[in-house]
Symmetry: C2
Subunit: 396 residues, 2 copies
């Protein structure tokens, strides 16, 4: 269960001007326009696809050492966020999940090749268009590696293509080579795709229950998401141009990266938008904390807190370590409010599939609603093209 | 060698008003005021201490599986930054360096205890005051673990205390128990302490050459750092309230965390300051990239680029993967400039000890100069105390 205490640590805000928009925006979301299929979980994934993913992942989990996910942006951030959040520190999943094709570091690719040389590898390449530069470069190099290691029949078991059902070079490649493939829904953009084949296969291979993830997402907290979106919009209109996604459990690091893309791409356009950043406490209290408390007051915080029962005693009175972490969530928000920095707090009672599904869908809703409030299209990303144009020109 | 092309991708800026400050600020730095000993590398560390660290680390490297560094903020960010930047992907240092005491996650500590149970462990606890809450909690738990595992004589070899030479509870504890200890210079604050005993022991234990790191730092690029500080200040005064430290090699991730503390704490005060954030490209071009290119134009970028000779061919024309990464640095800066987003680019010809030392000292200089330009004290952090006060009150 998640609970949204996002008025706990704020100065009073008059949100009445938003009231008449509540049903209007819900209509916009419901009456399925372009790129809105993520709103309906049944359009994210079919029962048939779930079974296909479960069957595939069962086989992979039995045989494979390393499951390589090749993709960038929305093609990997969601899966990485969930797998890391559900993971345990200091031990790897079996199979180990490694992400590639999300950067252009030559050393990273080279060392990856060394690392997997003698391992049993399955490769999942993910790109809707099939044209993404980083994914293409990494996939070509890793495909060469797979071809040098396995015969034709083996290769077919070792490459899974996740792409558009009908279009693009990756779809063509999968059909041509008779590879196992999964379809990415046409009307869902990358940053809203974690609950589609894109995210669900890697998450299932990592050993997590994708049905629970989906059932969490189905809770659809529209009212809460709307309120959170209004608070954000209100703060933005009052000079708070940066939103810090703050977490107190290190394994939420990739979740905050997923949030950055979701909000950054959905609302950062037309010279507008709240800049999403991340903050890991209590580490960053000894780093950015000074700025938050006492610097340029352009920030507000959205905090993910855990209310878990602890078992490890600290050396302080009768407090468990986890109690002190929970107390820090509250006291830091209080300290920041004294400096005029507002906080929304979202509490989870535990990091499990169901809560993460609920949380993911909550933020997807809020990002879409926030885009409408800001009067921008929450589902395009025109600004991503400029550097691609210049880079592709230079590479000719 | 590092090269600072920080005017490559900027609109023309008239920096003449800063000229008369150049020598004045240099005087401020040279005529050693409070907390300025970091400016003189000979005051960061003595030859005697270097030899002590080298001897200690040699023994530790021979025998130990896990070297646990317990500290938060400036007590670990610098060492982590250097060790990660010099590391190779997919393989750990031997001994493995693990950081703890930088957060209050109970699960992290619990899993850490499981992980080290049957390993040969040496523990380095770092806190100048000895009073840091997170460090204290983690150290007490891990000290209990050490005591349960080793006898009195062994314990003395397995705990190294890095703290103030004369004051604080950790100094008292070290003396009382006859533990090996290292002194933190009194006139150097946490965020400027990576080139002291604080950072140098963990870096040496990880197997890196601390003499080369120090000789890089001695290059003292004051003129370049001054120019960079002026550009930052100019941009800040023209509405650019956020500085993105952008890197194109994933192993610079912790380096960007070190930068956030350095600049956030040095300048984020009196309701002023540039908010430091980090950005990992090309990953984040498919995430925050949309915002940078097309969103609220409040950002400028400081980019760390690598100019390394590549060996891994890409599938695109005759380009090595590393060539495409270098080209991306340039083309992204060009694309951003078209949208009014300025970039400073710092090129390194390779990630080695000497370059990192030079880079560290360059940024320390810039953070201090920037503080003076902003008319704040770059060496205090009064805002860190408010949450501590509230939390300590609640814990009573």
């Amino acid at each position: 269960m998640i609970s949204l205490d996002f008025i706990s640590f704020q100065q009073h805000k008059d949100l009445s001007k938003y009231e008449d928009k509540k049903e209007k925006i819900k209509d916009l979301l419901t009456n399925s326009h372009e790129m809105l299929d993520w709103y309906d979980i049944d359009k994210c994934i079919t029962e048939e696809e779930i079974i296909k993913i479960e069957t595939l992942s069962e086989t992979i989990r039995k045989e494979c050492d390393v499951f390589l996910v090749i993709g960038i942006g929305g093609s990997f951030l969601g899966a990485k966020a969930v797998i890391e959040a559900l993971g345990t520190y200091f031990t790897s999943n079996k199979p180990e999940i490694i992400f590639a094709g999300n950067n252009l570091s030559e050393e990273y690719l080279n060392k990856l090749l060394d690392y997997i040389r003698d391992k049993n590898v399955v490769l999942n390449v993910i790109s809707k268009s099939g044209d993404t530069l980083e994914t293409k470069i990494a996939f070509n190099i890793l495909y060469k590696f797979i071809k040098s290691k396995y015969n034709q029949e083996e290769i077919k078991k070792r490459i899974i293509v996740t792409t558009d059902a009908t279009n693009g070079s990756l779809r063509w490649f999968a059909n041509e080579n008779n590879l196992v493939s999964l379809n990415i829904p046409k009307q869902i953009g990358g940053r809203f795709s974690v609950l589609t084949t894109v995210g669900l296969l890697p998450i299932a291979v990592a050993g997590y229950n994708i049905r629970k993830l989906l059932s969490g997402a189905r809770k659809n907290n529209y009212d809460s998401a709307f309120k959170y979106a209004c608070v954000r919009d209100y703060l933005y209109n009052h000079g708070k141009v940066v939103e810090s996604f703050t977490y107190y459990e290190p394994k939420l690091s990739s979740f905050s990266e997923w949030l950055k893309q979701l909000f950054g791409e959905s609302q950062g356009k037309n010279k507008k938008g709240i800049l999403p950043i991340s903050c890991f406490n209590t580490q960053d209290l000894h780093s950015l904390g000074q700025f938050y408390q006492d610097g340029n007051p352009i920030i507000f915080e959205t905090i993910i807190g855990l209310k878990q029962k602890g078992i490890l005693p600290s050396s302080i009175n009768n407090y468990m370590v986890s109690d002190i972490n929970s107390l820090a969530v509250e006291k830091v928000a209080q300290a920041h409010l004294l400096a005029g920095i507002d906080s929304n707090i979202i509490y989870l009672d535990s990091l499990n599939e169901e809560n993460l599904g609920e949380l993911i869908y909550f933020f997807e809703l809020a990002a879409a609603i926030g885009g409408y409030l800001l009067d921008v299209n929450p589902f395009d990303q025109p600004g991503v093209n400029e550097y691609k144009r210049l880079l592709n020109e230079a590479l000719k």
